[in-house]
Symmetry: C2
């Protein structure tokens, strides 16, 4: 039978309350009391029963992270950052995989799934603004990701438009003028692809550079293979270009590999740039110039904000929308 707090109290010759104080960081306690408690804990190999604590306190010390998948560099790195940030605040993270399914994302937001947790960080990709408006959940929620929703939740998002703008200008500054945009999408819905493409377009406009329609490639899946295939098609079609901007790193990496396969040098013949700064970008050859979209910062901000909401209780304030700071990571591919 596992020891209970009452056992510890008995062995330490104090009351249960004092032992509870010990575990909750109560400051005023004689050194003697403290050490008797510690001795008792060791002697009995006592472990706090967190279910009981949760029942009693109404807190679980756990938050949920709902993402479409784990085995995708961006989400894996995001998850890692969230887990670290949560760990620093003394919280555990249960990971829920939604597979990007509308119904699963919705049920997570509705709290139908998942264990009892104190709060939720979700990265929806299939939910429309109306779904989010309609979602009612009884715990604090912070949304993370690409789209800006108008819903009732706090939001921490990527500077898609500005990041793409900065990168495009950066390419201009390096003398590039005919840039292939790989993975673009024109859509009224502010998807990441649409927002990034908006930035690309605005940079052209501001710099007075014409966009070449043939060089605008998309929509295509945002993975390495389609990046490689798309750039191969561009070459086959005899298009002339001096740079490739992959709207995420996977596309850029795939394109870069294909360009090299075809005997082109980077950045000698063609400059290549990506977006996200996944870990592999820095390890590629040549290291990929990309936009650091602030994954770490997003994770940390989302966790901090969530903990704040949990601690003060969901306030009536208008939800905050935070845009992560971003930066161009200049590496040898440009």
């Amino acid at each position: 039978m596992a020891a209970t707090m009452a056992d510890v109290a008995r062995v330490a010759r104090v009351s249960k309350k004092t032992v509870s104080n010990y575990f909750n960081g109560y400051r005023y306690m004689t050194a003697d009391t403290r050490s008797r408690i510690e001795a008792a804990i060791v002697e009995l190999n006592y472990k706090l029963n967190l279910s009981a604590r949760s029942l009693s306190s109404g807190r679980t010390g756990t938050i949920a992270l709902a993402i479409p998948e784990i085995a995708h560099p961006y989400f894996a790195e995001l998850a890692e950052a969230v887990v670290s940030a949560a760990q620093r605040r003394g919280m555990s993270v249960v990971v829920e995989v939604t597979a990007g399914q509308h119904d699963q994302e919705l049920s997570v937001l509705r709290g139908t799934r998942g264990r009892s947790v104190d709060g939720l960080i979700a990265h929806p990709i299939a939910l429309g603004a109306s779904d989010i408006d309609s979602a009612t959940v009884d715990i604090p929620v912070v949304l993370v990701g690409d789209r800006v929703h108008s819903g009732p939740f706090d939001f921490v998002t990527v500077a898609n438009e500005q990041g793409a703008y900065d990168m495009t200008r950066f390419l201009f500054e390096h003398g590039r003028r005919r840039i292939v945009a790989l993975g673009m999408e024109e859509s009224p819905v502010p998807t990441a692809a649409a927002q990034r493409f908006d930035g690309f377009r605005r940079a052209h406009h501001d710099a007075g550079v014409e966009m070449v329609p043939e060089l605008l490639v998309g929509p295509i899946p945002w993975n390495r293979l389609s990046g490689a295939e798309a750039i191969a098609r561009a070459i086959d079609a005899g298009l002339e270009f001096d740079a490739v901007f992959g709207l995420n790193d996977a596309i850029a990496l795939g394109a870069m590999a294909e360009l090299q396969r075809q005997g082109l040098t980077i950045p000698g013949d063609i400059a290549v740039a990506g977006f996200d700064d996944v870990e592999e970008a820095a390890l590629a050859f040549p290291p990929l110039t990309t936009v650091d979209s602030g994954r770490e910062w997003i994770a940390e901000t989302a966790v901090n904000r969530l903990v704040e909401l949990i601690e003060v209780g969901a306030s009536e304030e208008v939800p905050t929308v935070t845009v992560a700071s971003h930066s161009v990571k200049y590496r040898a591919s440009v």
Copy 2:
């Protein structure tokens, strides 16, 4: 104030016990009772309090997964598989990141960290057999990974030696004789690198093919960049070879990219093979021949075994050691 089970019982005009039965899938219940309960649940927007259930039942419905990192293709895919398998069994997963640190891996095994969970799946990489022997934990544990330990825990492991053996033979069958082994390590400790190299060596022996010492490269970090660098050095050194066996996919992928950069064709000039079958292997160009090390199967087996241990209670039986089935995924790189 959130509704409790007593409220539901009152509204449905039944006892608490009956409502509890409803939530626990008790089969014998009149349709009328059932529907009254369901109506009450909806009316009150009632949610089961999992903390209370845990306290009362001694079960949390959650397992912990302790891995060195999430943002690594292999672990990300493993984590995803574990989460899916657990989901299928109605369990949630809290992910603990140990950073491959000895003390963190130990504290996870000792239950010092982490929330209260029903069981633990851990993939230690820094722990020796003695650490594992000494670890005592009060919940069921299933260990997963590369090394075979003698500890008191169940183990689900990768067929490192046999997988490497099969792949090496496969390369022989395709006429390759001078195979670069990238990432090998000779070590008394049965690390993945050592085990895979053992298989490589045994295949040579069985086939009566001499191993060429210059072609045995390692230890090197198991990532893409070091794969690329290592094969570049081999070429610079003027070594002759007709195949490259990267002891994991990252190395193989890096090497493959570098070979192509240098103008070699794959598999025309050089065959390339990897190990692990991470998702990207199939998406590479050309698609990478690799050993499917059974990640999905490992995850599923570990979860099933853990749930079994949780349900029957840690039995006194000798811990089982299970080796995942593996297979050579034949793709265009050979």
